[in-house]
């Protein structure tokens, strides 16, 4: 099965059995594809005794710890076919992941994302405010997760402006002019959760105290990048939403879950507050002790599978995040597939233990 065929399927239209069969077929093919083309991956499969014949569903496929992309250069295409290298947003002192993209994988990431996000925003593009500074997309050869996110979402916007300058200060004049120009129209806002809070929300609060307000009641905010920093300021997702609404009237707020290692197939939060898996990917919650599959309501380590990666062996990965499956095919929003929530990043010590021993097996 090709990815093009999968793109013809509406992203939230398949029930469990159909989706399971389709994804299993594609992911088995991708496993073979990478085994043939990536020597390191081939050795890993060999060392875990992988046997395609014993795979009855994609839950049975081996998974690599995401951390491995920080330690190894994993590619399934020749270097000259790499058109873009993406890096994770590691904090200072941490190693960063390097993800190598060829034309096909890069294009398929964008196509999948368009299908997913269009399901939430509709087909037409909206005037767009990026809640970040222009310099994040400056280094064209080396994309950070932030740059890649902004660029990926830019396709849904038109007449785009950056709300922050390169010193991360709100550009009030630009914002005012923009809101006047597009008065009465829906507006798309995009940014990373922490940036939105730190450099947008807090500034709006400060300005409101001075009597300066902005009306963003026609805004639709999409934000992602995790809650780690906000959790340390004790801001919950509900509070984030409530306080943004209070300060500027914005009420349509969608968080999303995604990672640079599987760009494209993001997990969007629906109107009911649940993150949803599309036909292009899935989540499997794993028990920390034996990696068994968790049931509904049981917290576990999140494994992600994606039908997209052809240029690097990243189609089945164990993340360092903890999540809970909330249900499948029966979210009140009407979208099929699994829906879930994220509890947060696993504690450093725990994951270090488990992924290091996992990776050490392949050394």
């Amino acid at each position: 099965m090709t990815f093009e065929e999968l793109l013809q399927v509406p992203p939230y239209s398949l029930g469990h059995e159909e989706k399971h069969a389709l994804l299993t077929e594609r992911l088995l093919e991708l496993t073979e594809h990478h085994r043939d083309r990536c020597p390191e991956y081939r050795r890993m499969l060999k060392s875990v005794g992988y046997d395609a014949g014993s795979v009855s569903g994609y839950e049975d496929l081996p998974f690599l710890p995401v951390r491995l992309f920080k330690e190894l250069s994993l590619r399934s295409v020749p270097q000259e076919d790499v058109v873009k290298t993406m890096t994770s947003s590691g904090t200072t002192g941490q190693a960063v992941s390097r993800i190598y993209l060829d034309r096909t994988t890069s294009a398929n990431q964008q196509k999948a994302m368009v299908k997913i996000v269009s399901d939430f925003l509709g087909a037409s593009r909206l005037p767009m405010i990026v809640l970040d500074c222009p310099s994040v997309v400056k280094d064209r050869n080396m994309f950070s997760a932030r740059g890649a996110g902004i660029l990926g979402f830019s396709i849904f916007g038109a007449r785009k402006i950056y709300a922050l300058d390169d010193d991360m200060h709100l550009d009030r004049e630009a914002l005012t002019a923009f809101l006047e120009k597009f008065q009465g129209q829906d507006i798309l806002l995009f940014g990373f959760t922490f940036m939105v809070w730190q450099h947008f929300y807090k500034e709006l609060v400060r300005l409101k105290e001075q009597g300066v307000t902005f009306d963003l009641s026609r805004g639709i905010l999409i934000h992602g990048g995790g809650w780690k920093k906000l959790a340390s300021e004790a801001v919950s997702p509900q509070e984030f939403h409530d306080r943004l609404r209070d300060v500027c009237g914005i009420d349509r707020v969608h968080d999303y879950y995604g990672m640079v290692e599987q760009t494209g197939c993001i997990y969007m939060q629906c109107e009911c507050g649940h993150l949803h898996a599309s036909v292009f990917s899935d989540v499997i919650m794993r028990r920390p002790l034996d990696f068994g599959v968790c049931g509904v309501g049981e917290p576990g380590i999140i494994q992600v599978v994606s039908a997209i990666p052809e240029s690097y062996p990243g189609h089945s990965l164990l993340t360092e995040d903890e999540g809970v499956l909330l249900g499948e095919d029966d979210c009140p929003c009407g979208r099929k597939g699994k829906y879930f929530k994220i509890n947060g990043r696993l504690k450093n010590a725990e994951i270090r233990g488990c992924s290091d021993t996992y990776a050490a097996k392949f050394a």
Binding site: V83, V114, A123, S124, R125, R140, N141, I155, R159
Partner: protein, 78 residues
């Protein structure tokens, strides 16, 4: 007139000469990467006063293909 405007946008966006522009495909040159692509689309939208659909932005993968899309879906005559 429109053909000239269209060509000029390519020449200016990617800093290439006429011959190169006319044979250009997406990702042939470093300037036409995903960042360059969105700038190109923004320039085309401003110049021709149109708003392109996301599907068309994705399908827009060469100089020639772009012309086809603008002519067919946005009524721009070349």
């Amino acid at each position: 007139m429109n053909a000239e405007k269209y060509l000029n946008i390519f020449k200016e966006s990617f800093d290439v000469d006429e011959a190169t522009a006319k044979g250009l495909k997406y990702q042939d040159i470093p300037a036409w990467d995903s960042v360059g692509h969105m700038s190109l689309i923004a320039a085309l939208e401003d110049t021709f006063d149109i708003m392109m659909d996301t599907d068309d932005i994705i399908d827009f993968n060469s100089f020639e293909k772009g012309k086809e899309i603008l002519a067919k879906n946005y009524g721009i005559e070349f």
